[in-house]
Symmetry: C2
Subunit: 360 residues, 2 copies
Amino acid sequence: MTGRRASVGRAWCDPVIASNARQPRPVSGAASARSRKVTSVDVAKRAGVSQTTVSLVLSGKAPGRVSESTADAVRTAAKELGYRPNAAARALRSGTASAVGLVVRDVTHPFFGRTLRGAQQAAREAGHVVVLIDDNYGTEGRESSAVALAEGTIDGFLFFAAKVPRPLREPGSRPVVIVEYEQPRIPFVRLDSETGADAALAHLAQRGHREIGYLRSKAGGQTFERRHGRWAAHLDRLGINPDDMVIGEADFAAEAAIAEGRRLLQDPRRPSAFLADDDLLASGLIAAARQLGLRVPEDVAVVGFDDLDVARLLDLTTVRFDPEALGAAAFGLLHDRLQGKRPKNVVLPSELVIRGSTGG
Amino acid sequence: MTGRRASVGRAWCDPVIASNARQPRPVSGAASARSRKVTSVDVAKRAGVSQTTVSLVLSGKAPGRVSESTADAVRTAAKELGYRPNAAARALRSGTASAVGLVVRDVTHPFFGRTLRGAQQAAREAGHVVVLIDDNYGTEGRESSAVALAEGTIDGFLFFAAKVPRPLREPGSRPVVIVEYEQPRIPFVRLDSETGADAALAHLAQRGHREIGYLRSKAGGQTFERRHGRWAAHLDRLGINPDDMVIGEADFAAEAAIAEGRRLLQDPRRPSAFLADDDLLASGLIAAARQLGLRVPEDVAVVGFDDLDVARLLDLTTVRFDPEALGAAAFGLLHDRLQGKRPKNVVLPSELVIRGSTGG
DNA sequence: ATGAAAGCGCTAACAA
DNA sequence: TTGTTAGCGCTTTCAT
């Protein structure tokens, strides 16, 4: 750092500044004790233009309306002053906040994190930010933060497998896109769980498994209904009554999944294979099998969904999806709606990844 | 306060103009039975009170200033009209948005999700929301969304093991609290990794392990330096040069951890035990051991950190922390700062959880 | 190509 | 206890 002192007491209307090429460094750091808030008015004065011009330039609406030299002067002044536009004021005046809310049931689930990242990346490219709301499986009550934020700071919502609360469903409220869920009249993005489940089932059949047990997610949701539905249909086709199969249910915590897995595997009617609503659940099954001294896949084969990291760790056969793409697509739809375009629903494909838990 | 005068000659003293100036009402559509935006003015009219009263009541500042009956009337009117306060306007006027930003390096890591949940819960109790910013290991560049949001919509920041960008470090900018990191002059919350590492090392020693390898996190960070530091000190104490040990490095992806784990385990100098910077890495080591036909813990013992779900799944001995408490504490500090109190740094304890990967 | 003026919806001094 | 008034910092017609 140089010991040079910044000029603080400079008259703000000093005409020399506007036209001069060489301009003093920004008044940053220790030199200026008082750090007043820098507004667009300050920038305007510094650049010798009006507030309007500053606004035009800084929000990218300058081309064709403001001369290049003026625009440059504004940008320079803004940088020198360390100007940061006030988002609240902008939102209030323009009615748009360039922020979307992502409502999830459980921030803790790995699949969600990757979806968020996808959405976040897409949002950033469009100049938006993503506000995260974990509704903790609906625990937050009807008047959740999502609704509270609806006015003013959030332009729209992405609901990830979460129910859309009443207020947000009313006409005139903020646009909503649903991820992994379908509701009439609301645009959605989802995974093609059906085809994925079919592939998994076919794979199991080909490996000689006839009876197949199921470990369901306690959380519920359309996605899981679809997966489970294909499983039931598959068994039906083979003349097996799904209700006679060994089935269980657990939430996404390892402890719960393992406990339920043990119960399932100790059932005397235990089938030679299991399908689980997702990899976390399937992993619980595998961990349980190990605890019980059962060999995978010889004694029991397991297939999950999502291809989470844990699937690689446990050598688990699984139906892979692309969560980043899911998130990006979801933001894309919302962005379309925000721009007045009619969004087109999206269904993303799956891919069966065969690993050791079904014999490789 | 500064007496800065924007417009002169405004007819603020002429009551007539105020009431019948031309009305620039945007003539929208035909029938106005539309669902117009409901403002506090509407509520005021409906309740037969002034806007001030509405504001007072609805922001909980009524007690002692507004009569109960009036307050009730306001609440009723608000509910009937479906009024939702505009957050942007509130933020602009009051200078506070009741929102804090949580900046993380990687939304995808399970530990983070739980921390976020803890922060979120604490924030909600204080009437705040948490905005999530994934800076993707700094990929977002200097001018990240965090900084962009700093003005107006965010009251302060929680940085989770992420560097605090320059603009935010300057005096006068929004308050910041750091999680799992220390920087001069910035309040922080962190885990007592030292004690945890010592306990893990002692446990290993007691089980007869002398030489101990290490699998480090590629991400780096003070937390990991601390863990690694205790390991080095431990070996030093035994007269072993840490640099002679088998050590590796991987990022948090399972694939990378497994690959590096295989490399480590195939090293002819392979020690009887390994410590890993976190459970994800430790899990990679265990998965690698299985792939190579090595028995855990007979051929190789492993200890991780965090007690993630995967630790239960793989029966991994680990140093447990409480991420929810971490998040809650972090929000607590920030909240203190926001209220002008001087926050007290927090260090949270650890607990060694002994499982099968070290012989149970 | 640029500027003046008018608010967005709310809160907070200050009056009454 | 309640109302009046003046903006917060920005964008946006509408003039020029």
